[in-house]
């Protein structure tokens, strides 16, 4: 199991398109991927559940991944967050 805090760096935060990218990416892996924010835990493969967390710029959330491909999933998601969800800033 991998559990680590990540900070949102893109200006618009986990808005609709970013949430969709995260859910689409998470869905590619067999592992269970969860996001924990403000004591609420959601399935990271569910775009609307991510969106409704309303995570903004500089907010910290916890990424929890458990399963056969957890390492690969974790690296891919960290890369997506670090790359500003492909939004440039």
């Amino acid at each position: 199991m991998i559990k680590k805090d990540l900070i949102i760096k893109n200006q618009l935060g986990l808005h609709a398109r970013a949430s969709n990218k995260l859910a689409t990416l998470s869905s590619k892996f067999n592992s269970n991927v969860e996001i924990i924010y403000n004591d609420e835990k959601v399935d990271a493969k569910n775009m609307m559940d991510i969106l409704l967390l309303s995570i903004g710029l500089h907010d910290t959330f916890t990424l929890k991944i458990e399963g056969s491909d957890e390492k690969k999933a974790f690296e891919s998601i960290v890369k997506l967050v670090d790359n500003f969800f492909g939004e440039g800033k």
């Binding site: 609709a16 969709n20 569910n46 409704l52």
Partner: protein
């Protein structure tokens, strides 16, 4: 696989679908729209009847914008059909949930859509 029909006043349906497609950055072909004809409700009833007849082999989830209004009332005669499921109070989150949530169980899908619609109404002031 479900088929979705949204029935709304004016061009609300078209606008909501356009927003879903922009947010998801893809075209959505599982949602059809009937916009109420304000001057001829019989035309809308006829369109609905034809649509339901054409999709009798699908589980059909109908979402309407206003319970008690014509957009919902014209659906009521069909809710006894085994393949017809109807939800009112359509909002953008509900539509996005319908497009993005994956399940083969129609009842789970309906529960998720309603839950998402309710959960999206937040007093954040």
């Amino acid at each position: 696989m479900f088929k979705y029909l949204i029935i709304t006043h004016g061009s609300i349906g078209e606008s909501l679908l356009e927003c879903v497609e922009k947010n998801l950055q893809k075209s959505v072909n599982t949602i059809d729209i009937i916009s109420l004809n304000p001057t001829d409700i019989n035309q809308s009833i006829s369109n609905l009847k034809e649509y339901i007849s054409k999709h009798s082999d699908h589980d059909l989830i109908i979402m309407t914008d206003l319970y008690g209004a014509s957009s919902s009332n014209i659906v009521k005669p069909y809710t006894k059909n085994k393949n017809i499921y109807a939800i009112s109070g359509l909002n953008l989150p509900m539509l996005m949930k319908a497009v993005t949530f994956k399940t083969d169980d129609v009842q789970i899908m309906i529960d998720e859509i309603i839950k998402c619609g309710n959960k999206s109404i937040i007093n954040f002031l």
